[in-house]
Symmetry: C2
Subunit: 343 residues, 2 copies
DNA sequence: ATCAGTAATGTAAGAGCTTTCAATGCGAGG
DNA sequence: CCTCGCATTGAAAGCTCTTACATTACTGAT
């Protein structure tokens, strides 16, 4: 490895015969530099292949145009899609994304947040509703982080100074989907839910509300909790065990599309025809919906809009504008093969 | 927004009655500090909620323990999985991940690379074989970037100073899968390939080699190029148009699992039974394989091992060790429903 | 008692940039 | 010809750390 002293602003200054202040001004596009000087400096910069040291820049400006993104796991297609949208949006605004995957342990999440804070990111985006706990105390670390940098939360609601939320009305979305099934005569909808997360609970509430609004009895045994990281095979096994207990259900709704894939698997193995015998509804309207046969009906929770709003909100905040603390987006039910019951 | 001067090392120094040098030593875990002083300083740090400014640190150390990851799009499940593995591996070694999604335009990729360089990352990982072009000149920007920081390439081979590659032997993998089909009597395998990328071409070579080794004629019309970002519907349409041209095929192999999903869709629409009438083989053994019905046979290209090797190689380099310039991993054919032809 | 040697700590010089404020040069108005 | 104002440019301070080197206060050996 060659010992090659990196080129600094001083080198550019020397070679172009101007002061470092002027070079800096050229780099930052200040308008007080004469056209002649600008050209000369830019030429030298190009010639030397000089790139400003972002650390030194950050030290001076106390920003490196970087936004931290915290998520449980990028491998999850839903999060991956969200991060893709966010990254693209941020980049278009001249910001980079520092990604930090924390898994689901509170301790690791806290550590991840600290880490982003120490890098003085210009804002932090929490992807996935599971960052907001229903246990108020467990959100304390988020609230205190917000004192140092704006926090944007995707798909969950948390009130606090310097905290901004973009989410979909999950309760109503689930309510509508469940009502549709109930009105179609499916009175025993099995619901696979995720507990302990903000949106998970909202969705469950929607499911329950659907029964109440139609004056139908709620069946506790039809609400089945499911781990966040359960695979297709696990979900299938879970459903089989429910069926084996003699619990009857005539439709399945799930909190995420992943889970619905397991439900489809179950139905095929149990030889229950989809959608005639067992309609299935997922949630998120992810790309997974097109993989199944028949294709999966799902609730589109407008991820793109949510991400877009998140980015524009952050940009507004950084520009010093007053921005709305939260924004809710309506969902849309996407009808596909798993519910398209021929009349 | 309150004007709240951030706490610096000076504040800690004052409040704990020691010099900033000592505070710095405590922070960095230097072993020359007395136990007593260390405890006192740590207490003050905890009390003030002080986090060192990473910029200043970076300026001094010329590293921020950050590795740049360049990929076309995180939303792609294969890349998402790779990034998940990489991020986790890097984090375990105390490094953060700066993510940069570039899309597939050469210009944007170059820009992304420059950006990471200016942030003085400790290394850059290129995810996805499409970063290495077959056109030598188009790789020039990678070679020159390698002069500033080590470059690690996933799933492609590029020789150069300070460039390290981890990849799977795609040619042999495809060769083996194709041979298996050919030996099972499928002489007209339709192959959906990606041109212009290193691994895409290697795979195609493997397909062709399979025919040659068995002394079978190669059919040009059976090798169909396919855009990298084609969706399920597009692939299906593509296959339908091939069939409409009267080109017969009795099996399908694809360069990625995504493409295979489209193939499955096609087969169902055309009412060709899988696997009896039309076996299908994907590539990557991604989570998508379990979504289809029947489940998708695929080539497992050992993504985890590749990522793991990439991380350990980088850690070795950063520790000043001499590391192997490239490492090839063998693949494994995963038999599932789309090829499990009952005998 | 003296001194080398060691452990613990402090001093100050960077690291490479931004930015304020001062200085310079120039043409126009008086 | 002098002065004012404007457009450019430069000098230097500051941002927060790390670290080489200097300093101090001991220790035990002589």
């Amino acid at each position: 490895m060659k010992v090659q002293r990196t080129i600094t602003i001083y080198d550019i200054s020397q070679r172009s015969g101007v002061s470092i202040a002027t070079v800096s001004r050229v780099i930052n596009g200040s308008d007080v530099v004469s056209e002649e000087t600008r050209k000369k400096v830019l030429a030298v910069i190009a010639e030397c292949g000089y790139t400003p040291n972002a650390f030194a820049r950050g030290l001076g400006l106390n920003t490196m145009n970087t936004v931290g993104i915290l998520c449980a796991d990028v491998a999850d297609p839903f999060m991956a899609q969200a991060i893709s949208f966010l990254e693209k949006g941020l980049r278009e605004n001249g910001y980079d994304s520092l990604l930090c995957c924390t898994g689901s342990l509170l301790k690791d999440r806290q550590k991840g947040l600290d880490l982003l804070l120490s890098k003085h990111v210009d804002g932090i985006i929490l992807v996935g509703s599971n960052y907001v706990s229903l246990d108020r105390e467990k959100n304390a670390y988020i609230l205190s982080a917000a004192a140092k940098t704006p926090i944007l939360i995707l798909n969950a609601m948390l009130e606090g100074e310097n905290i901004y939320c973009s989410y979909c009305d999950d309760r109503t979305a689930t309510l509508n989907a469940a009502q549709m099934l109930l009105k179609a005569g499916r009175s025993r909808i099995l619901y696979l839910y995720q507990a302990k997360t903000y949106s998970g609970v909202k969705k469950l509430e929607g499911y329950q509300q659907a029964y109440r609004l139609l004056g139908l009895p709620l069946n506790k045994e039809l609400m089945v909790e499911c781990k966040a990281d359960a695979g297709i095979a696990e979900i299938k096994a879970l459903l089989e065990s429910v069926a084996r207990q003699g619990i009857f259900f005539d439709a399945i709704m799930t909190a995420t599309d992943d889970m619905a894939l397991g439900a489809v698997k179950y139905a095929k193995a149990a030889e229950r025809k989809i959608p005639e015998e067992l309609p299935i509804v997922g949630y998120n309207n992810s790309s997974l919906c097109l993989c199944t046969d028949p294709e999966l009906s799902s609730v589109d929770n407008k991820l793109f809009l949510i991400c877009e709003n998140c980015v524009t909100t952050l940009m507004g905040i950084l520009a010093g504008e007053e921005m709305p603390k939260s924004r809710v987006f309506p969902s849309e039910f996407i009808q596909r093969g798993t519910t398209a019951i021929p009349r």
